[in-house]
């Protein structure tokens, strides 16, 4: 089966000072049709930029290299007409903060109808389609919402509107960039349930970006972990939890608070997350890694297959066999 989306060796740079700085250095991942893939990493690890590169809405100063293919078609070399058709029909994106992603001076109806007009649906037909879309995202009073402006609606409501607009074009791929981070907890659960249900019903491929490993596991079939602009691990979501392959993932897992265990003190990963351009020569995670050896700093580890997944760590097998990745050591900081 061909992949729906394939990202290979993606690199994104921005001008910073006199030279170009990496925001994403090396990202590779694939999504099969109907598959949900979680892209997990800390703020600044380059996950949002990766998603924006897929739909090509990076700022004009960005320099992008590597390969992105959708259903075999190269995305990065699409001409504007092709690109528009790709955005209209094949892919949709929802964003972290819906309140800034909707034009504040246009009504919700205007927003939804704008997308429909591209597909030739106008007037009363557009309004009734908008109403049906809103009821699919569980909005009880679609008429009131349609005539509202964004500032009159809550974040959860606006995110539903964004989802409604995303599914309107019946895309085969949905890019969700931390769609629930800006929402309060109860709304988060509702919005996640909506995304999950629509995805399953429609067989839409999903790239779900989050900083929360558990959320990724709950929604996604596979999880890809990014650190400092690189993919460092890729595995089935359950496997990531049971048997992480990369010391960074293992570190993230132990640094979560547990409800069931009382801990005197939360374990933390020493150091701070770094941006791609700050990364040292070898493994970017080496300076924070409890298992780092001098050789780790010599060269960037390859992203290679291991135990049904992929990992970019030269000591992965060793650490796994020794059982060191479960009980991640941590320097008290």
């Amino acid at each position: 089966m061909t992949d729906l989306l394939r990202i290979e060796g993606l690199r994104i740079q921005f001008p910073g000072g006199s030279q170009m700085r990496d925001v994403v250095s090396e990202v590779s991942l694939a999504i099969a049709p109907g598959e949900a893939v979680g892209l997990v990493g800390e703020s600044g690890s380059g996950k949002s930029m990766t998603a924006r590169a897929v739909i090509r809405v990076l700022p004009p100063t960005a320099r992008v290299s590597g390969e992105i293919t959708f259903d075999g078609a190269p995305v990065l070399s699409m001409a504007s007409k092709q690109l528009r058709a790709f955005r209209q029909k094949d892919v949709a994106m929802i964003f972290q903060d819906p309140s800034v992603h909707l034009n504040p001076i246009r009504t919700i109806l205007d927003f939804l109808a704008e997308g429909m007009r591209l597909r030739g649906v106008t007037g009363d037909a557009a309004r009734s389609r908008a109403k049906s879309l809103l009821s699919q995202v569980l909005i009880d009073d679609p008429d009131r919402v349609l005539d509202s402006y964004p500032h009159q609606l809550s974040g959860g409501m606006l995110q539903r509107v964004m989802i409604a607009s995303a599914i309107d074009g019946e895309p085969r791929l949905l890019l969700a960039d931390e769609p629930t981070t800006a929402l309060d907890v109860t709304t988060q659960a509702e919005v996640l349930a909506i995304i999950d249900r629509l995805r399953r019903e429609r067989g839409v491929g999903l790239l779900f970006i989050t900083h929360d490993l558990e959320l990724a596991a709950a929604i996604c079939d596979r999880t890809v972990v990014m650190y400092a602009g690189r993919t460092v691990e890729e595995q089935g979501s359950m496997a990531v939890h049971r048997a992480p392959l990369h010391p960074y993932t293992a570190g993230l897992l132990v640094s979560r608070p547990h409800v069931s265990q009382k801990q005197a003190r939360l374990q933390v990963l020493p150091g701070r997350p770094i941006a791609a351009y700050e990364a040292p020569g070898g493994c970017s995670f080496a300076p924070r890694c409890a298992h780092a050896q001098p050789a780790c700093e010599a060269e960037v580890p390859a992203f290679r297959a291991l135990a049904g997944g992929h990992v970019a760590c030269r000591r992965a097998e060793e650490l796994r066999t020794a059982g060191l990745l479960k009980e991640v050591t941590h320097a008290e900081s």
């Binding site: 924006r52 739909i55 809405v57 700022p59 504007s80 690109l83 528009r84 058709a85 790709f86 955005r87 209209q88 029909k89 949709a92 994106m93 964003f95 903060d97 800034v100 992603h101 909707l102 034009n103 504040p104 001076i105 246009r106 009504t107 704008e114 997308g115 591209l118 402006y149 500032h151 009159q152 964004m162 607009s165 074009g169």
Partner: protein, 315 residues
């Protein structure tokens, strides 16, 4: 919404009433008695003095005097100019058309060049933007009396493209005569509007909702039209309105420089001749025009921005 509009209009009327009070009261702030000031440097016989006293109701209480003047103004009676020996209305009447035409002409130039230049430079970073920015920085710093003199020297005296003097007669000739004055009047305002438009367009282009629009597959022209320009219009309309209102005061300088017989030049002349009734009348007309433009801007703002609409409906 309707309530808000009524409030804005009432507000404008109150402002206008207060202004008329100040303008009229200025007569009493002048040194000496009002009657001396009304007569000015001219000698007046007792009959004239009596007529002025009756006309200005100088023996009435102040508030009543003001009221009489204002009701007169509302009926088109601006009083009598001793200097010109005619009614103020007959002085303003024939001149106001020229001034209105000049302001309208300069207003169109200000908004036209300002908005178009600003959009171009906002949407096309690079050489176009760079040159527009340099030109507008220069233009912004040029006061109207300087631009007037430079334009006369270059385009009227040296190149002889335009007349140096006068307002012309007949519409086409008037436009021809008013071109240089309008350009001189509009220059710095157009530069200001252009810079603001550029900033507004830049600002909107970088907004996240524009990313959403692009990500949905809208054509770039639709993105620019429906999301960038439409949103940038809100600050641009405000500043354009205020800039055009500012042109009203600028006519005083430009009309004098180009020898145009409008109310701006008449104001200067009346001040020099201490023709107080005329000064009062012109000041009031200019302030009224200023308030009118401001009110229109306020209402346009309401029409353009639903957030302001919501806030004023709530408040």
């Amino acid at each position: 919404m309707a309530r808000t509009i009524i409030f804005r209009i009432l507000g404008a009327l109150v402002t206008l009433a207060v202004t008329s009070f100040v303008v009229y009261g200025a007569l009493f702030l002048a040194p000496g008695s009002p009657i001396n000031f009304l007569i000015g440097p001219h000698s007046a016989n007792p009959a004239t003095i009596a007529r002025l006293e009756t006309q200005y109701h100088l023996n009435d209480p102040f508030f009543q005097q003001w009221w009489t003047w204002v009701t007169g103004v509302l009926h088109g009676d601006f009083g009598y100019s001793i200097v010109a020996r005619s009614s103020v209305s007959s002085l303003i009447g024939p001149r106001i058309g020229t001034t209105v035409l000049l302001i309208a002409y300069a207003g169109i130039l200000t908004i036209g060049f300002g908005v178009v230049g600003g959009i171009f430079s906002g949407l096309r970073p690079g050489k176009i933007d760079g040159s527009v920015t340099v030109l507008t920085s220069i233009g912004l710093g040029v006061p109207q009396f300087v631009s007037a003199v430079v334009f006369i020297t270059v385009f009227a005296v040296n190149l002889k493209w335009f007349p140096t003097f006068g307002g012309g007669s007949g519409f086409a000739d008037q436009i021809y005569h008013l071109t240089l004055p309008a350009l001189a009047l509009a220059l710095s305002g157009a530069c200001y509007v252009s810079r603001l438009t550029r900033a507004a367009v830049r600002d909107e282009t970088g907004r996240e909702h524009v990313v959403t629009a692009r990500a949905r597959g809208l054509s770039s022209s639709a993105v620019v039209r429906r999301h960038v320009l439409r949103n940038a219009a809100i600050p641009v309309v405000t500043v354009s309105g205020l800039t055009v209102a500012g042109l009203i005061a600028g006519t005083v300088v430009v009309e004098s420089a180009f020898g145009i017989n409008g109310i701006g030049a008449l104001l200067v002349q009346s001040v020099q001749q201490s023709d107080f009734p005329t000064v009062q009348a012109i000041t009031l007309v200019m302030v009224a025009a200023f308030i009118l433009v401001n009110t229109i801007v306020d209402l346009a703002y309401l029409a353009l921005d639903p957030r302001i609409r919501a806030r004023s409906a709530a408040g």
